[in-house]
């Protein structure tokens, strides 16, 4: 039986490619610094910063700004809300793949 996936099932915050990459990386690494995420995902400073802020505003990631010596050190980690949203997104993808469902874009 085909189950159609409603557009509302797909979280627009996570669905964006860069934000999905950030959340995917943070889902498996307990904590990553700004530099580590930037180099792992191949993003520019501005791009990562803008999307990380969007995720923070949605409550999906925590951003901690500290200092290492005199240099600013920014780390990010996924919040429980972010973990749940990511799990839901994966579940939606699985449904689409397994049941051949299609969102009505």
């Amino acid at each position: 039986m085909n189950e159609s996936i409603k557009p509302d099932d797909i979280d627009p915050v996570i669905h964006e490619r860069v934000r999905l990459a950030i959340v995917s990386a943070l889902a498996v690494a307990p904590e990553m610094s700004f530099y580590e995420l930037k180099s792992t995902l191949g993003l520019s400073d501005g791009n990562l910063s803008a999307h990380a802020t969007s995720l923070q505003q949605a409550g999906y990631i925590e951003i901690a700004k500290t200092f290492k010596g005199r240099r600013p050190h920014t780390t990010m980690r996924l919040t429980p809300t972010g973990q749940k949203a990511f799990a839901n997104y994966l579940e939606t993808l699985r449904k689409i793949i397994q049941k051949g469902g299609q969102t009505m874009d």
Binding site: A27, A29, P30, T40, L78, L93, R94, I96
Partner: protein, 220 residues
């Protein structure tokens, strides 16, 4: 979103997760076990060298191998070979456990990347070790080069493996390279100590760091 797009998304997610987990599947436990085995090996080496009657050989100098009996030399080489094999076996075992716990493939891209990055350096180190040990008459300096050569080449492999991941493995690799450079230039006669500090202590510190980071994270 249709089925194909969802499939592509899934593959992208998997790729990113594997890349980001290179260091998290590096099991802290096996690093600590490996470090402890090396410390044990250094202690046994020291005790073996202490039994040498020639006063010109220090018990913290691997060149003491020259003064051991043939049986002692064979036992020494077998012990270090077994420590190396034991370290690799522990690494593979705990990496597989960790990967299973995190629901990722132990043969995934990250694991393959780590394997292919480390293998050339380790093979070169093995070839050089055999070359240093092979001459009919062993020479002091060549024996003293073995530990620093392993430090530098192992460090190169670890650094390369960490290139596509987070900073921790790269820092470990750099520490090994620095230790090897210092050791081959200034501390050749202190091989037992430098091996204990690098392969022993560095691994233990790295293992504790990985465990602490993992425990601190929300995903564990």
């Amino acid at each position: 979103m249709n089925q194909d797009e969802a499939q592509v998304r899934m593959q992208e997610i998997q790729r990113i997760m594997e890349r980001a987990t290179l260091w998290t599947i590096l099991p802290g436990t096996s690093a600590i076990i490996g470090g402890l085995m090396v410390l044990g090996g250094c202690l046994v080496s020291y005790l073996m060298f202490c039994s040498i009657e020639n006063p010109s050989f220090s018990p913290i100098d691997f060149a003491g191998l020259l003064e051991l009996s043939l049986y002692g030399q064979i036992a020494f080489c077998v012990m270090w070979f077994l420590i190396g094999v034991g370290g690799v076996v522990a690494e593979i075992h705990f990496a597989r456990l960790q990967a299973k716990r995190q629901g990722i493939s132990p043969k995934g891209r990250s694991a393959r990347l780590a394997f292919f990055s480390l293998t050339p350096s380790v093979v070169v180190a093995m070839v050089l070790t055999v070359k240093f040990l092979a001459p009919a008459e062993l020479r002091t300096q060549e024996i003293q080069y073995i530990a620093p050569v392993w430090m530098m080449l192992y460090g190169t492999g670890v650094y390369t493996a960490g290139l596509f991941s987070v900073r921790a493995p790269r820092t470990l690799g750099m520490a090994f390279i620095a230790a090897g450079v210092a050791s081959i230039n200034f501390f050749q006669q202190y091989g037992v100590i430098t091996a204990a500090l690098s392969f022993g202590l560095f691994h233990i510190v790295f293992g504790l760091y990985v465990i602490r980071k993992r425990r601190a994270g929300p995903s564990t």
